[in-house]
Symmetry: C2
């Protein structure tokens, strides 16, 4: 995961997804709305500023997905991207463990 976030392009993708994607939502009537989020093309537009080198973005999205940081879901002709917030939370917990979990050292 660190390696995946270590590339500037991927970090931008990750930040964009964090800012604009939305996890599964349940409406008041109990209706489950699927994940919403940008398509690969929208990520591409946003991250590259209009240049459309989809192959490069696709490559980076695959890296992020293999690292378990993002999810991708087919919706018709498009792929909807979103961050795996649980994975991100676990990664944060690895960096900032609960104080009682660490042992005394001196």
């Amino acid at each position: 995961m660190f390696k995946a976030l270590g590339d500037p392009t991927r970090l931008r993708i990750f930040e964009f997804l964090r800012a604009c994607c939305c996890p599964v939502a349940v409406a008041e009537d109990g209706d489950v709305r699927p994940v919403t989020g940008p398509t690969v093309g929208e990520v591409c537009c946003q991250v590259t500023g209009g240049d459309k080198i989809t192959s490069t973005i696709s490559f980076h999205l695959k890296e992020l997905r293999n690292a378990g940081l993002i999810t991708m879901e087919k919706r018709g002709k498009n792929m909807i991207c979103g961050v795996d917030r649980e994975a991100v939370t676990r990664l944060a917990a690895y960096l900032a463990p609960e104080p009682e979990a660490s042992s005394e050292c001196c």
Copy 2:
């Protein structure tokens, strides 16, 4: 920082330092004890399992230090290594921001 932690060797160094280094401590009598932690040689021994390729470890330690994740302090003939726990905490906070800080998305 992510890039620095993204290399397996550096992650091992980082984990070793987290496990065995100790930040500045203040004794009951108010005496400030300096940071304690392993020397570069000890890191090298621990991480490489005895092989002593100090140049490689030195390279990785520099990367970690440039990223702001660790500190190094000269003590006589040695360099004492330690993690910058504040920086690590900030990085964790970046990944797991306070819920109230994030905006609504849907």
